[in-house]
Every structure is written in structure tokens, then in C-alpha cells.
Point group: C2
Chain length 196, copies 2
């Protein structure tokens, strides 16, 4: 049941069977059908979720009622509103399923418990946050320095299958573009390719 999860943890970590049993006891499994929410704005984020199957998106709705996608979370990733999870303030993020998905939920009590009971888990989370910070900084730099075209091709090079799994207008939103602009960028690129 928790295979993918232990797989993820075992990158740089070795868990004993006893420790694995602790996880099994303290986490819960949740299934979400396409379009169902893991978190809606206004709620307090009660859990960190590991995606064992499927895919979610995290988005914010701006004052013009545009959805702005902050992050995608396919299987093997964690998703949560960490800020709300830590402070227990209401979230302004929405997280919903783009496909039927399966989550492994770690609520706050479990999270605190597991981090002390399993020091490796604490270290793992440390490395996760550090890695997430580095990745986000790179993304911010890309937002600043890359052209629209480059942003799109870079996304494709990192996630080659993303166009198969995610509707185009959501990719536009993730890149900070309108759907129309992304459509035109793609057209231009396909023409370029044909030229060669």
C-alpha cells in the first residue's frame, strides 16, 4: 500500500521494518476522484499529502477570478499548503485532483510524532524543504530571465509528458500566460520545427 511512499523515503534514508510499521499506523489513505478537492481556500490545511497515484494541482484565484496554478503534483510528490499546515491559519490556496488520485495523508499529530520517533524522517523533511526552496528559486529565476518561448520549451524538457496529462490552459496558467498566448507560442514553435 505504501510502497511508493517508502520508495521515496528510501532515497538517502534507510528505514527499519519497525519504523515502516509506525508509518503504516499513523498515516491514512485517501482517494480522490478527478475534480475533487484536497484543500479549498478558507480551510485549514490539516495534512501533508504524498501522491501515490494520480496528479493534483495547487492554484490561487486572483481578484480578477483568474486561476493561477502554483504547482503540479504527480505521483511521487508531496503536496500541501505548508504555511497553513504550520500556522493553522486559513489557506488561500486550492488543491484539487486532475485525475483519479490516491493520497497518503500525514496529519499534524502524526507528522510531529513521526519526526521524533523516526529521526530519519526528520532529516528527510529537512532535505525536502531545502530542495523545494532551491527548486523554487530556480523557477523564480526562470520567470525573470526566460522568454515566453523558453519557459514553455524548458517546461517540456523537464516534464516531457506534461502535455499528455494536463490541459493546455493549465500549463498556460502555470507559466503565467493566457491560453491564447500559449497557443500562439506553440504554433510558432511547430512552424520552426517544420522548417528544419
Amino acid at each position: 500500500m505504501l510502497d511508493t511512499f517508502f520508495n521515496k523515503l528510501s532515497k538517502g534514508t534507510t528505514l527499519t521494518e519497525a519504523e515502516k510499521a509506525l508509518f503504516t499506523q499513523h498515516v491514512t489513505i485517501k482517494k480522490l476522484r478527478k475534480h475533487q478537492y484536497f484543500l479549498q481556500e478558507g480551510e485549514i490545511c490539516k495534512s501533508v499529502a504524498f501522491v501515490s497515484k494520480g496528479m493534483l494541482r495547487c492554484y490561487i484565484v486572483d481578484e480578477k477570478n483568474n486561476e493561477r496554478i502554483i504547482q503540479f503534483a504527480p505521483e511521487g510528490w508531496f503536496i500541501s499548503d505548508i504555511s497553513s499546515f504550520i500556522t493553522e491559519d486559513r489557506s488561500n490556496l486550492n488543491i484539487d485532483a486532475l485525475e483519479d488520485t490516491e493520497l497518503i495523508l500525514i496529519n499534524k499529530a502524526a507528522h510531529v510524532y513521526l519526526e521524533t520517533a523516526v529521526p530519519e524522517f526528520f532529516k528527510f523533511n529537512y532535505a525536502q524543504y531545502r530542495g523545494a526552496y532551491i527548486a523554487l528559486q530556480k523557477r523564480l529565476i526562470d520567470m525573470f530571465t526566460l522568454s515566453t518561448e523558453e519557459k514553455y520549451t524548458k517546461l517540456l524538457s523537464i516534464y516531457p509528458d506534461i502535455m499528455q496529462r494536463v490541459p493546455q490552459h493549465m500549463i498556460a496558467s502555470y507559466l503565467g500566460l493566457t491560453p491564447e498566448t500559449l497557443s500562439r507560442v506553440r504554433k510558432k514553435l511547430s512552424v520552426k520545427k517544420t522548417d528544419a
Copy 2:
């Protein structure tokens, strides 16, 4: 000498005198005069720096030779290229002093040692990274959702003294604008204010 540093650590952490002594032994002090570099692109980032006095900026140079400022680091903040520090790859960031500044440097060996010798330091860094990640995510959201005008006024509300300490064109760079655009935004805002 390390007062501001211990002050920072003591938020949520209590260090014994013995532990403080360990820090004193393992860190080094470095003074930078205005315009001097803590890190230049192409170098490997050898230390994490705590700013005890002064201010630095972290920037990247894009292919059109524009400087893009990623981050400012006034006293009380940490600055480093964490990615380069961890992986020991060459950095593509530049970090230099905007004023005469004083840094407390923790090199890799010291960092590793102190994190194991002082568990509180490990926890502190965990919280730092997590906080940095949350803050960066908020910044990314602001970049997406705020108008140019709002980005500028929000920056001012968070760092009211920033215009006094940082040249305007660097603030423009931080916000992802040209200096001309920021100048015009400021003019528009000052007219609005006069109207009232």
C-alpha cells in the same frame, strides 16, 4: 562579536554557553567593503553567511547582460547559494555588498559539524529552509497576481526603509521591471497621494 547571530538563533532555540563556544570556534568573521563580492558566478559557494552588519544583494546576469536581483540580505539574514553550497557545483549567482558589511561565515565542514554537535542548530536550519520556501512561494504568487503598482507598494509596506538603503534601479530589478518603469510608477503614485 556574534551577538546578532546568537540573537537570531535564540528565536525558538536555547543554546548553552558551551554550545555558543562551539560556534565561536568554528565560524569566521569576514568584512566586506561596499562593492566587494561574497560570491562570483563560476565559483563554488564555500560558506553560508550570516549578515551581522550591512547589506548584500544576490543577482544573476541574464543573456542580455541585465542584472536580475534575486534577493536582498540586510543584517539578521542569511545569504548563500545553497544549491552550490550543497552540490559543490559552480554557482551562476553573484553576491556582493551594497554597504560595508560584516559576515559570519560557516563553511561546509563547520556546518556539518555544528548541525550534529548542536541539534538545536539542525532544527533551526530546518525551520529556516521551511520558512524560506514559504516566503519564496508567497513572492512567486505576488509576481503572478499583483500589478506592477501593487508589487511596489507591497515591497514598501514590508521593507519601509528600502528606498533609503537601496538604489532605485536595483529595486526595479528585484521587482522585474526596468528602472524607467519603476520611475513612472512612483510618479503616478505620488500624484495619487497629492490628490487626497
